[in-house]
Symmetry: C2
Subunit: 325 residues, 2 copies
């Protein structure tokens, strides 16, 4: 089993790599080789006895995709992307990476003719307001950001390439990942994590939107689980609609804060400072809230059952069980 991960130096990429190394196998086959690429050189995973090829490259550069798949990977996890806030402020960069880079990778795979399993990380940003409170699997894709547009376009291309037999694709619309460890990234959704992460680490966090904002969350641990589950899905069971909205926890910012208070106490929850930001509010207002992801649930995808559980995963996986109260 040879696995390619693009965006391997990112938060999810690193966690996925670590989990694969820990598991030692994917889809019941021993992992012999990992090819890892990102805009910076991904770290070589510790404790892995197989071959590792790790290199820095721009996925939107014509030479990158052929190089990335030269070793004929059996499974590709395509995580590389410019995040939503940056794709909105730097239009050219978003198009270059999210649209052209993804297309180049799909075309390189098509030319090679090996038909690997291609797991594409899409996003719930393919949906745009107005929508019903509970969004069904059949709802249209009318994104209100360039990021969502680029993800929706690649979903379409992935489905056509899969239908034509060029690749064995699965697109997964990840919920917003919460709690993201480390420093904030440029995603407009960053505050959903900051308001949990910073208070738990003894720091102040800024909340740029109203408490009533509702959103759809899953932990990094769940996200890695989604990716691995997607890699093993049976194509026949999946059918032609290969792009899936994944399960998550739907809750308001107020419910997030209440969960934080239950788990870490009033003093921690008091570290959230309200500072409305019109740009962030405008972007988030166009985002979906809750889904009814029946297909993904029927296909065995599993998220957390509550936001409390999402916080506990963060405390376990990132803080060694310790909260700065």
């Amino acid at each position: 089993m040879h696995i390619l991960i693009t965006g391997a130096a990112g938060m999810i990429g690193r966690k996925l790599t670590a989990r694969l190394v820990r598991n030692g196998a994917l889809n019941g086959r021993a992992i012999e080789k990992l090819t890892l690429t990102d805009v910076i050189v991904p770290d070589r995973p510790k404790g892995f006895s197989g071959a590792v090829e790790s290199f820095a490259a721009d996925i939107g550069d014509g030479a990158t995709a052929p190089k990335a798949i030269a070793g004929r990977p059996n499974v590709i996890f395509h995580l590389a992307a410019v995040v939503s806030g940056e794709a909105e402020t730097d239009f050219a960069k978003g198009v270059h990476v999210n649209l052209d880079g993804s297309r180049m990778l799909l075309d390189a795979v098509r030319m090679a003719g090996d038909r690997p399993r291609f797991v594409f990380t899409s996003s719930i940003a393919v949906f745009g307001a107005p929508f019903p409170d509970l969004i069904p699997d059949e709802f249209q894709h009318t994104p209100l950001t360039s990021y969502g547009t680029q993800k929706a376009m690649i979903e379409l291309l992935l489905a056509d390439y899969t239908r034509r037999g060029f690749v064995d694709g699965v697109g997964i619309r990840l919920p917003t990942i919460n709690v993201r460890p480390g420093k904030p990234n440029k995603a407009a959704s960053g505050f959903f994590s900051s308001i949990i992460r910073e208070p738990l680490a003894g720091q102040e966090a800024v909340l740029p939107v109203e408490d009533s904002v509702t959103h759809w969350h899953a932990s990094p641990r769940a996200a890695v689980g989604f990716l691995i589950h997607a890699a093993g899905l049976d194509s026949a069971q999946l059918g032609p609609r290969i792009n899936l909205t994944l399960p998550g926890v739907g809750c308001t910012v107020a419910e997030q804060i209440a969960a934080l208070r239950r788990i870490a106490g009033d003093k921690v929850a008091a570290r959230i400072r309200r500072a409305p930001d019109p740009l962030v509010s405008r972007i988030v207002a166009g985002w979906p809230r809750r889904f009814d992801p029946r297909r993904a649930l029927a296909l065995g995808f599993q998220a957390e059952a509550s936001f409390d559980e999402i916080i506990r995963v963060h405390v376990e996986d990132e803080l060694g069980g310790t909260i700065v109260s």
Copy 2:
């Protein structure tokens, strides 16, 4: 008023050009110039006193789009496309014209910075089975052909470019055009017209699918009306969901044949020969049947009221009122 038409030598392009020349104005402004392009040189319209620039070019060639918009058109009708059957059998050509050509045109417009009204002819092929019997405006786009994929991708790009203010876009999902005059083209939907057109001209027609196949039709005259109506739509009224499913006549092949019999008699209807074609049947099985196009109706788009009326339009516009019985 300066108008650019791509695909101007095609059936709809020629009829649109003739109608614009006859009207003399668009959106209440006198038409001073027409720029016409296609893979063959479009005919210069008769009876037009304004300037005409007419040239042959490949829209997927990097030089074509900048040349086409060099005269800074106020309204662009982007009709150029490789049809469904050909985009399925010649994948590279479909991508080159339908995806890359359209994107190049949008990018040329973005660079020029004039923000013209950009009417894009999309297709109901952006929908893919399974769907409900009556498809609502909010239904997802899961095309089952490369043609439908390419159209759906450009719809997304057009919406994002419109949202960002690069262009003032309207995408219209045309019903299948019926009755197409002239010779059959390579569209998999060609038989929907042949079974009416050929018998009315005294010739045999081949029906490659079952009589129970249901489809969504509008006449060439209605299609030209749709395009002109789209050019004049108020952006504020349109809102962010700029791609619209248009009204049409939903009926079965059996109902088409019954209408032909009512208008032209048994002898004409008997000229239809059944010859099932698995490839055509497979493509058509993935196509939608009937729509509930509330938004387009509310925005004033109008199609025929019955298939009888569609046949009468053909007899009037193409046959000078004469049927070979």
